[in-house]
Structure formats: C-alpha cells, structure tokens
C-alpha cells in the first residue's frame, strides 16, 4: 500500500510540474536562509554559559596585575587565561633570511588561551587548524594568513621565527626566537598575527576564566575582591568585576529573538508556498478523495496518501536546499562568514528544520482529512470556500513578511545613507577610482615618493596629515576669538592645494605648506567668528598649545553639514560650529591623481614596480596601494555587506512571494478551466477574466499593505530611527517609501503573472465545454 501511495504522490507532483517545482524551490530557499541565520546566531550567542570575563576595576588591567592573580589561585575560578588587548607591531624573520622582514602584529597570550572557548569579539571565532592549541615557553601560534605568506604550502609547524620590534622601538619580544606550535584560522588571510607567550609587563590584557562547579559569579567576585591582591606599582588593593558575557542581557535577548523571528519568517514564507500548494491541491481533488472513499479507503488511507505527498515534496525541497547551500556557501565564505560554521553543520541545521516542517505538515494535513468526515454537499462547498480563506490568509502572511523585509531594507538603507554620508567627498565614484592614496612606508619612502611623483601616469598629487577622509572620525578643538570659544572639527593638516585637488570650493590664497600658522575655515565657522567684534582675521586654536593662526581662506560649501549635525548630538552643549584645515608640511598620506588615459590597475602596477625596488620582497606592497574608492568601500564594508544582505533577503522574499502567486494563479488556471469557460460563455471579456484572477491577489496585497505598512513605518522608520534624536525620516518620506514599495510589488506581481493571465484569457470555451 505504501508503494501505491508513493507512486500516487510522485504522479500527483508530476501532474503539476511547475507548481511542484516552485513549491520545492521556495521551501528550499527558506530552509537554506533559515539554516544560515540559525548558525550565525549560534556562533554569535552560543558561547559556554560558565565562561566569565574578569575586569580589574580600579587599576590598569595590566599583564603585571594579571600575573598576581595567576599566582594567587583564587577559589571558584578555573582555566584562568589572558591575552593582550593591543598588539605590538613587529617584524618576523625566518631562520637564515635576515634580509626578509614580515610585518606582524604580536599579541601576548597565556599558554592555554585557545584551549577553551573565548567571549572576546576578536578571538572567539579563531580555530586551531593545525598543530597544538597551547604554547610552551618559546613557542607561538601564528595566523593562517601569516603561515601561508611565509611558508606557502609548506607546513609552518615546528619552524622558527624571530621577532624584532617595528620602527626601531624596543619591546619584550625583540630578538626572541620562537617555534611555531600551531596555526590559527582567523577567517581572513590578510591578518598577520603572532600569539606569543604573555610577558608580565604593563600591557593591558583581557582576562578570561570559567566558574568552577558549585560557584556563582557573585561568589567568585567576592572571593577575588577578598584575595588581597595589590597593584605592583603602589600597592593599592585591586578590586574585580565579574561579567558573564555569554549570559545574555535584555538587549541581547531581544536581538536574538528578533533575528530568530526573521530567520523563521524567511522559512515561513517558503513553507507557506509549500503548504498552500499542498492544500490547494487537496481541495481540487475532492472528487478523487470521494471516489477513494467510495471504493473503501478510510480516512487513515487518505491521510497516508497526503503524508506520502508531503514526504516526497519535503525530500525534494531538502535536496533543493542542499543544492542552494552548495552554491551559496562559497559566496558566504567569501563574505568571511564561512569560518563561523562548516558546510556539514549547515546541512544538519537544514535537515533539522526539514524535520520540523515535516512534523508541522503532518499536523496541518490532518485538518482537511478530519473535515472530510462530514460528507455532505453543502459541507463540501463550504470547505472549498474555507480552503480559499486559508489560502488567502497564508498569502496575506507572505505579503506581510515581504513588506516587513522591504521596510527593513529601508531602515538599513537609511542608516547606511546616514553613516556613509560621513565621507566628506564631492568626487564621483569614477573620480575616486582615479585617485590612489599611499601612506608613509618604513623602507625607502623618499625614493618611492620621488619615483611616483615623476611617473608619467601621475597627473597631480597632494599631501596631508591626520586626514579624516578614510577614517571618517573627527577630532575637535576649540577656536577662540577674544572671549568667544567655539568648537570646531579638524578637517586635516597639510598642503592647501588639498582644496583644489578634491574639488572643494575655497575663497582665499593658497599659502605654501611650510609657511606655518595659517588655517582655512569653512563658511559657517567663519561667519560665527566674524560676529565677534574683536575678530581680526586670526583665531586661537587649542590645537598645538593654543597657537594663533591667520585665516588664509574660507571653504565656501557646507560640505560637512551632516557631521556638524551629528556632533551636535554627540557633544550636546558645545556643538561643533564648523571645520578647520591647518597648513602643515609634515605628511603621512599622499594622494595621486592618475591621468585619464591610464587605468587604475596599470597605475597600481607601476606604483608597485617602483615600491618593489625599495621594499624587501617579504613585505606586501600591493596591499598598501588603494584608490580612494577602495578605501571608502573598505571602511564601510560591513555596512555595505548589511545592505547587500538586506537586498538579498528582500530579493528572496519577493521572489518567493511572486513565485507563490504565480504558482497559485497557474494552478487556478489549470484547475478552473470550466469556471473560465462558463464565465466567458456568459459574457466575461478578457478584462473580466483578468480581474477575476488577479484582483483577489491585489486586494489581498492592498489590504495587507494598508494594515501592516503604517504600523511598520511608524515603528521602524519613524520611532526607531528617529528615537535617538537623529532625524532620519519624516512622515512624508515614509508615505512616499510606502507608495514605492506598493507599486514595486504590485508591478512585479502583474509583470510575472501576465503571461499566465494571457493564457487564461485565451481559453477557448468551446473546447472546454466539448471536453466536459
């Protein structure tokens, strides 16, 4: 009998090939995305519950203080371990090759740091990929990127490296030789890390531990504070704060719940398409089910038949999800998510969700079967109508989910626009691609600079120092005129040709960089300074010990309006009035505009060739050559990543919704030929048929939109975004965005279903009647 049911299931699914394919695809996509989000959440929030972070509250949290703690062996804590917060810049040398330095960042660690889970945002996802997870006295762990760079495909385990402090400085690792004990997968090959034995000096450390069985965090904190530890320098008692980082706080729980809901919404949107098809198919087969009952099938048999179809469908959907995972996993790895989880764990997560879906499906298909018990005609009719109601409710839920994601996309885009708006740049993307920026290098910089400046590809160049163009963060100082003190942001120090180079309109004279004591101010600051009767064209800046500066020019445009507004929020009582540019002849950043006839890649190659002559071959020079555009993209890569992710989720949602509607309409078209024919015979024109088929979907969408959007618009766009005082949206903007979303979705629905609707319009009633 089971074989019969399976045969029937396959036959039934093949009967509606397209709809089956769409249902499986939607379900497969839902499973895949749900799997990804679930694993990312597990990776982010799933740390060990007994791990604690120890903070020394009234001292420097230095390695020296940690050393005392280690010696004391406080009751209630175990697996005490630590790592330095900031790295030492150093050069690593391989045995026998003293002329080849490798730039590395050296962190100090206790021997067993990586033996237990870590709550540190940086190291928590590092995994030992070769060798040991602990180090001995003269051993180090190195990042995979560094191991690859030094040794290529050869194993780095057991090899020796010598560390020398960078830029002529001294540190505790200088001159020490270490044997590589293990390789850390940091998820990013550009990270050149060395984890060496912790030196008990003044370096700030982060301290990790586990709570021993039978103890609480409070008891541990009490024990630590009573352990009698004192600072090494002046002997004052040390007190501790114990934080349980993996015990989620309210905000984290909320974030966890919200993301979990989203992951299940994505799954739900696929699952609904799947269930809608199953239920729709069930209601179009009343005759077959009745016939089966007539020839002796019991409800149990009918249930088994439907269960077989669900099983076959879900098995195929799981296969589809495996394929989409396989295709997408490489992309996700490229986005540096891959190191959070393995492909096999993704498949396991999807399988678990499939099992949940299977269990839900088995329950859901019980309802139509139970209703079949009432075998009367009116009941059958009402059931069919109820089936439609259920289908419409499911569709409405899908619409609501897609609207939610479209609103979320709006939120992310607004945040991105707000954040990315920090870049004080009037240059277009293509202009930014033509400017290459370089930072001072340790080896042969004067020769490199001179070579590049003379290169025929370079059109013009400008130098500056402490520039915020790529960092996006501003330092601010006071500007004083007489008794009037205002705050101003520092735009940059450097060569005044800066304005012309970056196409910033400036009124005034361009002074020589070495003339000194000159500044440029923007129009808003200038107008404010002028209000003071004592203003004589000079200003005293708190920068550089309250030196007096002559204003050489005024930047005409208020190109930093957003920054000023943001600083109003940041420093409240003392808002930033404007920005100053200090004339200076010491530089650390160099901009080169490339002539239009050359490509950026050609220029980069030429720069690399010049730099290569002066920089040891072990150091990567290409990594230091960036266009302005690349710097911008690199700075905002997480935000752009989030925007891309939202675009992807919205795309998936809309795809699933549109496919779902398309599948419904095509199933309608296949099963309601008689209905169409009768309507046509009775005078329905093509337009009437279109209205009849697409109107319920449009009405459903419109009603859902009217109910859902105002709430989401108010909650997410208006209340949440504007909640912290940064006015990002207005009611009019929300309404316009709503209209845009509505038209976009309706347009998509009409466009994708148009072909099917046309086919329905062309149904020949005579043929249908003849078939009947």
């Amino acid at each position: 009998m089971l074989l019969h049911y399976m045969k029937m299931a396959v036959r039934q699914l093949l009967k509606y090939k397209f709809q089956t394919f769409v249902s499986m695809l939607c379900m497969g996509i839902g499973l895949t995305i749900n799997g990804y989000i679930k694993l990312v959440l597990d990776a982010e929030f799933g740390g060990p519950r007994d791990e604690i972070r120890l903070y020394i509250t009234d001292a420097s949290q230095s390695a020296g203080e940690y050393g005392q703690l280690e010696e004391k062996r406080v009751e209630g804590i175990e697996n005490l371990r630590a790592a330095t917060v900031r790295p030492h810049q150093a050069n690593a040398f391989v045995e026998g090759k003293p002329e080849l330095p490798y730039e590395v960042n050296v962190f100090g660690m206790t021997p067993d740091l990586f033996r237990h889970s870590l709550s540190s945002s940086m190291e928590r996802h590092f995994k030992i990929m070769a060798g040991r997870d602990s180090i001995g006295r003269n051993e180090v762990l190195v990042s995979n990127g560094l191991a690859k760079r030094i040794y290529g495909k050869e194993s780095a385990i057991g090899k020796s490296i010598t560390l020398v402090a960078d830029a002529g400085g001294e540190n505790d690792y200088t001159g020490c030789s270490y044997r590589i004990a293990g390789i850390l997968n940091t998820g990013d090959d550009s990270e050149q890390y060395v984890y060496a034995p912790l030196v008990y000096n003044a370096d700030v450390v982060k301290i990790f531990a586990n709570i021993a069985d039978g103890y609480t965090a409070k008891e541990v904190q009490h024990a630590l504070n009573n352990a009698g530890l004192k600072t090494p320098d002046n002997g004052t008692p040390i007190s501790f704060a114990v934080i349980e980082p993996n015990v989620m706080h309210v905000e984290e729980i909320l974030a966890y719940i919200v993301v979990t809901i989203f992951s299940w919404l994505i799954f739900l949107i696929g699952f609904i398409t799947f269930m809608k098809f199953m239920i729709q198919m069930f209601y179009t087969r009343q005759r077959e089910l009745a016939l089966r009952k007539c020839v002796g099938s019991k409800n149990k048999g009918l249930y088994m038949m439907l269960a077989s179809e669900v099983t076959a469908m879900l098995a195929c959907a799981f296969a589809v999800s495996c394929i989409t995972s396989e295709v997408s996993f490489n992309y996700i790895s490229y986005m540096h998510f891959g190191y959070l989880f393995s492909f096999s764990s993704l498949i396991v997560a999807q399988f678990e969700t499939t099992l949940i879906a299977f269990a839900i499906s088995l329950v859901v298909i019980l309802f139509p079967i139970m209703r079949l018990r009432k075998v009367d005609m009116k009941g059958a009719m009402l059931r069919r109508r109820q089936g439609k109601k259920m289908k419409n409710a499911m569709l409405a839920l899908q619409f609501a989910i897609s609207i939610t994601f479209l609103v979320l996309l709006g939120v992310v885009l607004l945040i991105a626009e707000y954040d990315i708006g920090w870049l004080p740049d009037k240059l277009s993307a293509s202009e930014q691609r033509r400017i290459i920026s370089l930072h001072t290098m340790k080896f042969g910089w004067d020769e490199i600079r001179s070579g590049i400046e003379k290169h025929p590809m370079v059109e013009e160049y400008v130098y500056c120092n402490n520039e915020n163009r790529s960092s996006g963060s501003f330092s601010y100082h006071t500007c004083i005129v007489g008794n009037d003190t205002v705050y101003s942001g520092i735009l940059a120090h450097g060569d005044p040709r800066y304005f012309e180079f970056f196409n910033i309109s400036m009124e005034g004279k361009v002074v020589a960089p070495d003339e000194g004591n000159y500044v440029y101010v923007d129009r808003i600051l200038y107008e404010r300074l002028r209000q003071n009767p004592e203003f004589d064209g000079t200003v005293t800046l708190s920068f550089n010990s309250f030196g007096k500066y002559q204003i050489a020019g005024v930047v005409q445009e208020d190109i930093y309006a957003k920054e000023r507004i943001a600083y109003v929020d940041h420093i409240g009582e003392c808002p930033i009035v404007g920005f100053v540019f200090l004339v200076d002849s010491s530089y650390d950043t160099y901009y080169y505009r490339i002539k239009e006839r050359y490509t950026t890649d050609e220029a980069k190659d030429a720069f690399e060739t010049i730099m290569r002559k002066h920089v040891p071959e072990s150091l990567d020079v290409r990594e230091n050559i960036h266009t302005l555009y690349e710097e911008h993209m690199d700075r905002y890569k997480e935000l752009y990543g989030l925007v891309n992710l939202m675009y992807m989720l919205v795309f998936v949602c809309l795809l699933v919704v549109v496919l779902s509607v398309y599948s419904s309409i095509s199933l309608d078209a296949a099963t309601r030929q008689k209905d169409i024919a009768i309507r046509k015979i009775n005078g329905a024109r093509s337009l009437d048929i279109i209205r009849h088929f697409i109107a319920p979907y449009l009405i459903n969408y419109t009603v859902t939109f009217v109910v859902v959007y105002p709430f989401l618009g108010w909650l997410l766009l208006l209340r949440m975004l504007n909640g912290n005082g940064n006015r990002l949206t207005s009611t009019t903007e929300i309404m316009l965005y709503g209209v845009l979303i509505y038209l976009l979705t309706v347009g998509l629905l009409v466009l994708t279903t148009w072909g099917k609707i046309r086919a329905i319009m062309k149904v020949n009633p005579a043929e249908v009647v003849r078939r009947e």
């Binding site: 059958a380 009719m381 209905d675 009768i678 309507r679 015979i681 009775n682 093509s686 009647v769 003849r770």
Partner: protein
Amino acid sequence: MEKIIKTENIRKVFRTEDVETWALNGVDIEINEGEFVAIMGPSGCGKSTLLNILGLLDNPSEGSYLLNGTDVTLFTEDNRTTLRKGVIGFVFQSFNLIDDLNVYENIELPLLYMGIPRKERKRRVEDAMRRMDITHRAGHFPQQLSGGQQQRVAIARAVVATPKIIFADEPTGNLDSKNGIEVMELLKQLNSEGTTIVMVTHSQRDASYAKRVINLFDGQVTAEIHQ
C-alpha cells in the same frame, strides 16, 4: 420573419498531429427570428460543433456566418463576447453551473458582465428564479440541487439577460423523463414569448417541441423537416 441566423458553406476542421477531422463540411442553414429549431443526428455528426459556432463560442474554419445581419465569421474572441452579451443564452446537457457560486450568483453572472446595476440585477434574477420556480433554492450551491433543478438554474441564467436566441445542447440529456418534459415545456414557453430556440438533441420527443428539425450527418445537412 427576419433571418436571425444565416450560414453559408460552414466547414470546421479539427487537426491533431496525425489526423484531420472535418466536423462540419459545408453547412448552409437559415433560422428566422422566433423559430424553434432542433438539430438532430447521430453522435459525432457535428451537432455540438455547429451549435458552438452558431453560439459564437467557436469560429468556423471556412464559410460565412451572419448573425442578426452581421458577418461574424472573422470576429475576435472579445468581439464575439460583446455580441453574445444579451443576445445569446446557452443551456448545456451538463448544466455548466459554477460550483463555487450559489443559485442566485450563477443566474446573476451574465448581468454582472453586462454591467447592469445591482438593483436591476436583483429584480431580474428574482424574476428569472420565479419563472423557473427555484426561488426557494436561491442560496443553494449547484451540488445541492437535483439535475432538473440545476437545469432550471441553467435556463434561468440563459434567459435572465432576455436574449434573442437560446442555444440548447441536449438540454434533457442528463435528466429523467419528468424533469426532461418540464425543461422542454419551459423552452417552449420561452419560444412562445418570442425567443428563438436552437436545440441540439438526440431525442425524438424533445425534437417534437421544435417547429423545424434539421438533420445532420457526417457534418452535412441531410434533411430539413417542418413540423
């Protein structure tokens, strides 16, 4: 009497990949306004095909067809639909009611597509139901009705728009003799009120209600009998 239907050399071919079947092979018929015509013949002789063409559900492959003086041979689907509205009504052997609509809604359907206001629709539907004696079934769905009742609903739907012609394809084919006679009496009454009836039938008894019988064989008119 005005000629309401006139066909000249109507031919209809059905083509599949291998076979070409001529369902109609040069049919010339003329029907006057207010006539009751029965089309008879064995199964597969092309009766229903002819009825579909006359009822503007299908186009002939060749020949010309004048309905109410208008050449409709090359009319598009939408043009045919427009012309059908309020002019032609259909009654089928298998009733062809929409299962999801109740009796009232089924009858209302042609009026809905004609764009008649709700009040007027209600009046006309109630009138048609009263004439067919199915008022008490207004809220029922087709599957809750007997065959005779369903056919009454189908006739009510056909007449609700007061068409000039009713095409009936074996209207009693699925009914017992009592219900069959009732349906034929209804058609006769409609004809007496001025509606032209064109009916396809196998039944001599049903054909006896018509004033003229056209015999069809192998897609050709073989005889016309005036009764």
